[in-house]
Symmetry: C2
């Protein structure tokens, strides 16, 4: 039986679960808003107007996701700004510590960083009520922009193979910083315990689940690095 | 008789007129793309997440306008990047020389600067073929975001009346820089002569028309400054 089938929408009446959902939507919303800002800023160093437009288009898609998450928080009677607040320092910290120093670093960050986020939240979504799950999966869906990044990075490596080593190191640093900030944010939010433990009507992620999720995220990250032509 | 009624879509078969339309769409497209970037960058200094979101929403609307102009250029068989190229240096120069040093300066620039652009292109639109006219009027339409800027600027002046004098000076500098860059760009593009002179089937703007247009733009600029609580 799919664990998701055991979760009913009435789950949201459980205050502990509801708090976890609000936290999840809050961190996703602030993540999307930050990704939007960061991508537009990276687009400023694009080598051509067409590249700038491609990256800006990715940014605008993230903003529309942010708007959907914000609307859902309002539907739940929550002030979106308050829901995002607990995650600002971790997300701002991540972006501060991983400010790209070049156009290519920005592209790799957009693809690898967003990819890990997508994988993580899509895994978590399986433990949510159907409505929240659908929203999370929707806003985390691949926007089809990855082909652009893969194309540009592979072309840069073909033109100068030395680029590959530096970008591979960069990719590893991104993962390290993301994990460190995610741990910090999670440690501060008890609400996520509700997802970990579950309830009578809703399966928890559990320690085994966490292991499986991390294993899959690491495998998919390695596949993305490979598709860029980089050693994971 | 409305001058616009005398313009037929077949006008686009006239190479001189077509070149003028391509230039017009090119300058508008690059202007929207730059406005998008600049607004998102200004949003970074917003005092709250809600203000940041409001300004980002204005930015995203400008990006969608950019996309429509880009699509129209492609329909006309023109490479959008090439059409924008002649106007990059003037528009980049304008933004470089008017980089806001505060959140409020950014808001005034968004409202006053975009307002002048909207007035100008909406006036020019009357001398275009119906399809181009409709597109220009659409992408130059008020996005309904002005109320946000007016509200924030008036509140800031109420809290500290000294702000009004500094922002009024800023408003005048914006107009001066915009005119100087517009003159520079226009002087380099002969194509715009086609709009100025007109043809048998299409009225030109003419020297009288230019005077009337400028008069109206100045009046509307003064009204906008007044609505912000600033001396024009």
């Amino acid at each position: 039986m799919d664990p998701a089938d055991r979760t009913a929408p009435t789950e949201l009446d459980d205050p502990a679960y509801r708090a976890a959902v609000v936290d999840l939507l809050g961190v996703l919303a602030y993540g999307e808003l930050s990704a939007f800002e960061r991508l537009v800023s990276d687009a400023g160093s694009a080598p051509s107007v067409l590249d700038k437009v491609s990256l800006s288009r990715m940014a605008v898609a993230e903003f529309h996701h942010f708007e959907r998450l914000r609307e859902r928080l309002q539907e739940l009677g929550v002030d979106p700004e308050r829901a995002m607040e607990p995650f600002r320092s971790a997300i701002d910290g991540f972006h501060r510590s991983t400010a790209p120093s070049s156009w290519l670093e920005g592209l790799v960050k957009a693809y690898v960083g967003d990819g890990i986020g997508q994988d993580f939240y899509t895994e978590i979504a399986q433990y949510l009520d159907p409505e929240t799950r659908e929203l999370v999966i929707d806003v985390m869906g691949d926007l089809g922009h990855s082909a652009f990044v893969v194309d540009r990075v592979r072309a840069a490596i073909a033109a100068d193979p030395g680029v590959a080593g530096r970008l591979a190191l960069w990719g590893r640093r991104l993962v390290g910083e993301a994990l460190s900030q995610a741990q910090r944010a999670a440690a501060e939010r008890d609400s996520l315990d509700a997802l970990f433990l579950g309830s009578q009507s809703r399966p928890g992620i559990g320690l085994g689940g966490v292991g499986v999720i991390f294993q899959r995220i690491i495998e998919r990250h390695a596949a993305r690095m490979k598709s860029l032509g980089l050693a994971p």
